[in-house]
């Protein structure tokens, strides 16, 4: 089996969960990776300070798409305050594959959008 392109990664890439537009939504952000042109946006609906629902939209490589898809399942129901604090380690652990330095931004693009939507901070997750 391939270390990086595992079956579940390819499955999330081909059949991404929680993708599309979410209308109406309360929060949104759009991020891109200028290096490769990958783009990911997120729409979030908030209830009681929690992420009631979210959808990603955009396009990119298997890693950026799978990372957004996998994280979307964890993010639903999460407190906004918690989502705004999520770091790179949370996502990389969730992804469960070895990510090289050159692919790190691919993996983190979706989380960057979520953090941007929730906190307004558009820094790359540390």
């Amino acid at each position: 089996m391939d270390d990086l392109y595992r079956d579940y990664i390819l499955d999330h890439y081909k059949h991404p969960r929680n993708f599309g537009e979410l209308e109406p939504h309360d929060l949104e952000a759009f991020e891109h990776n200028p290096l490769c042109g990958d783009e990911l946006g997120v729409h979030i609906r908030v209830e009681d300070d929690r992420i009631a629902d979210l959808r990603f939209h955009g396009h990119g490589c298997a890693i950026s798409q799978a990372a957004a898809s996998i994280s979307s399942e964890e993010l639903k129901g999460m407190q906004l305050s918690e989502a705004g604090q999520l770091g790179a380690d949370w996502l990389l652990e969730l992804l469960g594959i070895p990510i090289s330095a050159t692919r790190r931004k691919c993996a983190l693009l979706g989380l960057k959008a979520v953090r941007g939507a929730v906190t307004g901070d558009d820094a790359w997750p540390a």
Partner: protein, 427 residues
């Protein structure tokens, strides 16, 4: 297998120069290096590495300053290199300046010529297929000076339209036509001499970005008629850190300096200074001396191979590349369909696999290609793609490299469990 590739495959070693390039001794994951990223940067022959090392070991001193024997050796090496480099590109009647790279060469013209010449009501004409290096300096100039920045369109076959050029020039406001000789994404070889002739008749200057052209085909700057022709060392088997700008003397003489400081002055007073003669007026600070020596050696190496032969060799590989890619299901090639209309590269997409993943999977097989927007985002938008994968050949490339790419592509499709769904389109 296509006839050209078959014939070539019998020899299989192209120009037979791979042993001149020490990097090919390296292996990646037990596989030989299939370097197909020469449009990004070329590999370096031992003679270039040696020439630079020899200069630093035996002849190193600063230039244009010392009276001692060693300094005179350095002067002779540096100014000699300038002459050898100008001769290689047929730029004998032009002034040859050294810059850091093509980006700096274009900025030199956009700042120095542009800011002393272009104003409101003027236009700069570029094309949709330009590298960011030949877009952004003009954008900044036009914004600052209230001038118009217009684009020649690229058609579905990756070509510019001379009819559109004529229409643009007929508007009478174009001061500069800046365009690439060979597209780094489409591979398109533009009709440089026809464009410069039309521009000259319309009273516009021309700047040609020769970054991709000089390493792979005969280039005669005087015959092409460009007022400015820029190219870079590192894509032409030379070192990084040195670019070349050939320019018409009468224009350069009128232009104010670009960067100012040491070496570019005639005299410095407390409040004002006067400028050195050409070409040194445009070479502020200590120039890339060892790099110039390395680049002169590189172009002599290319000259010895013969640029006609280099072009023929890369054309054969491009035929093999295009025909091979056409047989991979789901692969689309952008740019001119016929190999003879393009330089030695092919940009492509693979249905169901993002270019980044293509590059990653090929890299594991020792196949080095580039993925992304290739510093040409406006072109990507006009092609309707976000990114492409790009394979590009060099003098040291061989048929086995192209075969390694095609094999790895089939492997990548297998891993992504893609079936031979959509029919391949001949690129």
């Amino acid at each position: 297998m296509p006839p050209a590739a078959e014939q070539h495959g019998a020899i299989g070693h192209g120009l037979g120069v791979r042993d001149d390039f020490p990097i090919f001794k390296r292996e990646f994951a037990g596989r030989p290096l299939a370097y197909l990223d020469s449009s990004s940067t070329s590999q370096k022959p031992q003679v270039v590495i040696d020439a630079q090392a020899d200069h630093l070991r035996e002849h190193n001193a600063n230039v244009h300053r010392g009276v001692y024997a060693l300094a005179q050796e350095a002067d002779a090496a540096f100014e000699g290199a300038r002459g050898r480099i100008a001769a290689f590109t047929g730029a004998g009647s032009r002034v040859t300046l050294f810059t850091k790279n093509v980006t700096e060469a274009i900025n030199l013209v956009a700042y120095s010529w542009g800011r002393s010449t272009v104003g409101p009501g003027d236009a700069v004409l570029i094309t949709q297929m330009e590298h960011h290096a030949n877009i952004v300096p003009w954008q900044v100039l036009c914004r600052e000076r209230g001038a118009d920045l217009r684009y020649l369109e690229v058609d579905e076959q990756g070509q510019l339209s001379l009819a559109q050029l004529d229409r643009e020039l007929a508007r009478g406001d174009v001061r500069m036509v800046a365009f690439t000789h060979v597209s780094n994404v489409l591979g398109t070889i533009n009709p440089v001499a026809e464009i410069t002739l039309r521009a000259r008749e319309a009273g516009a200057l021309t700047l040609v970005d020769g970054a991709q052209a000089v390493p792979q085909m005969p280039v005669d700057v005087d015959a092409l008629g460009a007022d400015f022709y820029a190219w870079t060392g590192h894509k032409a088997l030379g070192p990084t850190g040195i670019g070349v700008l050939h320019g018409r003397r009468e224009i350069l003489e009128q232009m104010p300096p670009f960067l100012t400081g040491g070496d570019m002055i005639a005299s410095v007073d407390l409040q004002e200074s006067t400028w050195n003669e050409l070409p040194w007026k445009f070479e502020a600070g200590t120039p890339p001396i060892a790099e110039a020596v390395g680049l002169a050696t590189a172009v002599e190496y290319l000259d010895a191979l013969g640029m006609e032969r280099v072009r023929e060799h890369e054309l054969e590989l491009t035929v093999q590349l295009l025909e091979g890619l056409a047989q991979v299901p789901g692969v689309r090639v952008v740019g001119p369909p016929a190999a003879q209309d393009r330089g030695g590269l092919a940009s492509f997409t693979v249905d169901g696999i993002h270019p980044h993943d293509v590059a990653e999977l090929l890299g594991r097989e020792g196949v080095c290609i580039r993925a992304g927007h290739h510093c040409a985002q406006p072109l990507m938008r006009c092609l309707g793609v976000k990114a492409t994968a790009r394979a590009s050949v060099g003098v040291y490339s061989e048929t086995r490299d192209v075969q390694a790419l095609l094999d790895a592509l089939h492997g990548a499709r297998e891993l992504f469990a893609l079936e031979g769904a959509s029919p391949a389109r001949a690129g």
